[in-house]
């Protein structure tokens, strides 16, 4: 947008960019860590004293016992894992119709393309994974598999028609230990292969240059993913639809999933390679900006346009929507071009205030139902008035004014496009909301992050501001929201919000819930960021003041980058809790990931009451999401040098 905003953005971008240099230097100066031979390592770390030995044995036994219990539970004949397998689509997208499923893949494709580009363009490249770690990892998993084979009790015997055989005490009759071990041939193979690979790396490759060989973390992950995707081609993952009553019968997971997932892998890898290629050119910086803006837009476009498949009434678009959008773009643009004239004087302010008055009256009128107007016209008008009021800050030479006007036109184009799409009815034939399952979890989490983060920063700045009006309003807001249980806010937004909205304005339940999430989370983020703001030393303010920086510049270039750097750990913590708290959507009747596992699957006739399996699966997926975020934040912290000087 204007140079000021660009500048604000650059503050943080530079912070990240400059951090690699430090990281590279750290890595270069770091000495090799001493490495002990395995036996000695065990002695030093686990059996160094009598107490240490006792503790190792006690907790080792407890761990083995817990592991055995878990495996016996998971592989028991009472488990019905088909409930999860058959309901994979229900878990992730709920009732999204199969006929439109291509839209899901396109959405995922967009996300993976952006992810690949971002990874390729990222300057936050760490050392990667050492061969030593891969080796230990392989050996550990191999060992765990083999231990599991031995620990799991022998399977129950079944009769010819699949019934479990019971003995006189109604306990299942089990195979002999020898047969059980022999029956687990595939597992033996996996365990031994993993162990052998690990040992081979350790002995052959590891010995050559053990601590010097690193595999890039991203290529390594892509390789693991490639293997996982390839299993879809040669391993029989089972049928779905054979027993379940939702999805088309007869097709296997393998049939329906192998092609799209393979394509997705190529999309991700291809985008990553393209990103790598671009990052070596001097256009990397501008491409990075485009990719980051696309990340911001992608959730809205994929959610409301691609997944929702709006049915557009072209007559209405031509007669109303398009002229209105063009009017705001061109008329508003011309007005702003006029208002940014350097020597305009008081006329500009008078015009701005006048516009603002009209914009406010539009809403008042709407509230009392005096004159009708499309909602988006009101919103655009208010935006125009606000920008017009601030326009004199952006006064300057012709090129600068034109940039300002183009930015306005772009914002209007995107806004009107999205509003038109949202207002058009959806063609997706789903009984409830058109999204559900994991999709809704992800979208609510993403919307919350996008909206709550800027709001949180503003609230934090407001609360630490020297202007009493901002301070009081922010404090009231934060303290009110923090003093109320989240679930009440969610109930309020999902049920009562529409009562408080002006006539003719309604908000979908899902959007209302998202709004509740964002407003709630912003209050907590604000407190985290405020902590960061307080950690910025007084000398930094004085130095900026002494240089003659304005308050906005001081905040954007000096204070916020340092404050946000300090607040990364709590901010990621807040993001992880938001991700998990989306499960509360189940309470207000939205069918999210958890609710599918907890009530939809157990309600199916074939899987009546089968709940534990789904819940365990849901736990795993939540854990993978939360753990990745936590890992990413650790990397970011290291990269930005949090806690140093």
């Amino acid at each position: 947008m204007s140079s000021e905003l660009e500048h604000l953005a650059r503050g943080t971008a530079e912070l990240i960019a400059n951090a690699d240099e430090r990281e590279a230097e750290d890595a270069a100066s770091r000495p090799d860590e001493p490495s002990l031979p395995p036996l000695q390592w065990l002695k030093v770390n686990l059996f160094s004293s009598v107490l240490n030995t006792a503790l190792t044995i006690v907790f080792g036994l407890a761990g083995v016992l817990a592991y055995q219990r878990l495996l016996n539970w998971a592989f028991s004949h009472e488990r019905n894992w088909d409930a999860v397998r058959v309901n994979m689509r229900a878990l992730f997208t709920f009732t999204y119709p199969s006929s439109q499923y291509g839209r899901i893949w396109v959405t995922l494709g967009i996300v993976l393309t952006l992810a690949g580009l971002s990874l390729g363009l990222s300057r936050m490249v760490g050392q990667g994974v050492s061969l030593k770690r891969i080796s230990i990892w392989c050996m550990a998993w191999g060992g765990a598999v083999i231990a599991g084979i031995v620990l799991v009790q022998p399977h129950a015997k079944r009769s010819a028609d699949g019934e479990i055989l019971l003995d006189a005490d109604f306990e299942p009759v089990r195979e002999s230990f020898g047969t059980a071990m022999a029956d687990r041939g595939w597992w033996w193979l996996i365990g031994v292969l993993l162990l052998a690979t690990g040992l081979a790396i350790w002995v052959i490759l590891g010995d050559l240059k053990r601590r010097k060989t690193f595999v890039g973390a991203i290529p390594f992950t892509l390789g693991v993913l490639a293997f996982a995707v390839s299993t879809l081609w040669w391993f029989h993952w089972g049928n779905y639809g054979q027993q379940g009553d939702i999805i088309e019968p007869g097709r296997t997971v393998k049939d329906s999933a192998k092609l799209p997932w393979t394509a997705m892998w190529f999309v991700l890898t291809g985008a990553y390679l393209v990103g790598r290629r671009i990052s070596a050119t001097d256009r990397a910086a501008s491409v990075r900006v485009v990719v980051n803006l696309s990340w911001l837009l992608a959730p809205f476009i994929t959610f409301w346009v691609i997944l929702r498949d709006p049915q557009i009434d072209y007559a209405h678009v031509m007669s109303t929507d398009l002229p209105m959008a063009l009017g705001f773009m061109i008329g508003g643009g011309a007005l702003l071009f006029f208002l940014t004239k350097p020597d305009l004087g008081e006329i500009g302010r008078i015009l701005g205030v006048g516009l603002f008055g009209i914009a406010i009256f539009n809403w008042v009128a709407a509230f009392f139902g005096i004159y009708p107007m499309l909602q988006k016209a009101r919103i655009s008008f208010l935006l125009l008035a606000l920008v017009a009021l601030a326009a004199h800050n952006f006064a300057g030479e012709r090129a600068q004014r034109l940039r300002f006007v183009y930015a306005w036109a772009a914002v209007m184009a995107i806004l009107h496009y999205l509003v038109t799409m949202i207002n058009a009815p959806s063609t997706v034939d789903a009984p409830d909301e058109f999204v559900g399952g994991f999709l809704v979890t992800v979208y609510i989490a993403v919307f919350t992050m996008i909206f709550s983060f800027p709001l949180g920063v503003l609230l934090a700045l407001g609360r630490t501001s020297t202007l009493p009006i901002f301070r009081v309003l922010s404090t009231i807001y934060i303290e009110t929201v923090r003093g109320v249980p989240f679930i009440t806010i969610l109930f309020f937004f999902s049920t009562f919000l529409n009562i408080f909205l002006p006539d003719g304005m309604e908000i979908e339940q899902l959007a209302a819930a998202g709004l509740g999430f964002a407003l709630f989370s912003a209050a907590y983020l604000a407190e985290n960021i405020r902590g960061g703001l307080q950690a910025v030393r007084r000398g930094q303010y004085e130095a900026s003041d002494a240089l003659g920086l304005s308050t906005v510049q001081r905040t954007g270039f000096i204070v916020l980058p340092q404050a946000l750097r300090v607040s990364i750990p709590p901010l990621v913590g807040a993001t992880i809790s938001t991700f998990k708290e989306t499960s509360l959507l189940a309470i207000i009747g939205i069918i999210d990931f958890l609710r599918v596992a907890n009530s939809v699957i157990p309600g199916q006739t074939v899987f009546l009451g089968v709940r534990m399996e789904g819940l365990l699966f849901v736990c795993m997926i939540y854990w993978i999401g939360a753990y990745s975020m936590s890992k990413f934040s650790q990397r970011l912290e290291r990269h930005l040098g949090v806690g140093e000087n």
Partner: protein
């Protein structure tokens, strides 16, 4: 000749120059504690003034009042013809004319050395980026550390950091430089490199106000030495006069403790 009024010029040549900073009975309170008690002094263009005094004597407070990092409650401060009032436009104008160097350097830790220096020319003076960066590297050359441009403040020694801080202040092309104990946080072996840069500035004709405990610097470079105690100017004069023939008992006591 009365030394309680430091406005008295120390030589005819200096007296002929224009006034650039005028302080007229400046008072400053922190709550009930009065940090400055009617401080009056006139600084001439291209003059180098060293302010001495025991800690807590108000010398830092005084020079911080001159670019409004602290607000005085009564009296007048006029810098380069502009009086310091609550009018923000005046303050911004003065701050871009007055450079300041702090005891704790106060470099921006998240910006590289070159960005630390070019930030203000870029955003306050609205220079194009290339020009601002060229200016920054010229200044780094001038303070003797051109090779450190891409490093971060945390990777530099204290002396180097302070030299960057001087370059950063100079990047605004100020007419006046204020130094608030610029060498007090430095290890002894680094003090000289910073003082050398300051001497060069003084020779170049910069108007400077320096709060310091470096008597050697005061003797060698200062046009005038001002001695403060308990928020008052006790005595002022040329370095020869001040160090060899102090008039006031409090000055004598201070000098006997420090020399």
């Amino acid at each position: 000749m009365s030394f309680s009024d430091a406005t008295a010029a120390v030589s005819d040549e200096l007296a002929a120059r224009d006034d650039i900073i005028i302080c007229d009975s400046v008072d400053k309170w922190y709550g009930d504690f009065q940090a400055l008690k009617g401080v009056s002094a006139t600084i001439k263009e291209r003059e180098v003034v060293v302010v001495l005094g025991p800690s807590g004597s108000g010398k830092s407070t005084w020079i911080r009042c001159i670019n409004r990092l602290e607000q005085h409650q009564s009296g007048r401060i006029i810098v380069d013809g502009v009086e310091l009032t609550n009018d923000t436009r005046n303050i911004e104008k003065i701050r871009s004319e007055v450079g300041m160097v702090f005891q704790q350097f106060n470099l921006f830790p998240h910006l590289s050395v070159i960005d630390n220096i070019s930030l203000a020319p870029l955003w306050v003076r609205k220079r194009p980026r290339a020009e601002a960066e060229r200016l920054a590297s010229d200044l780094l050359e001038r303070v003797g550390i051109p090779e450190q441009a891409e490093k971060f403040p945390g990777q530099l020694s204290g002396g180097q950091q302070q030299r960057v801080a001087i370059a950063r202040a100079l990047a605004m092309e100020p007419r006046i430089m204020l130094f608030d104990e610029p060498t007090s946080a430095l290890d002894p072996e680094m003090i000289k490199e910073v003082l050398d840069v300051m001497k060069e500035l003084a020779v170049g004709g910069m108007t400077m106000m320096v709060v310091t405990h470096e008597m050697g610097f005061a003797r060698e470079v200062a046009d005038r030495v001002i001695f403060m105690e308990s928020g008052e100017i006790v005595e002022a004069g040329t370095p020869e006069h001040f160090f060899t023939d102090p008039q006031e008992d409090r000055t004598k006591l201070f000098l006997s403790q420090i020399l």
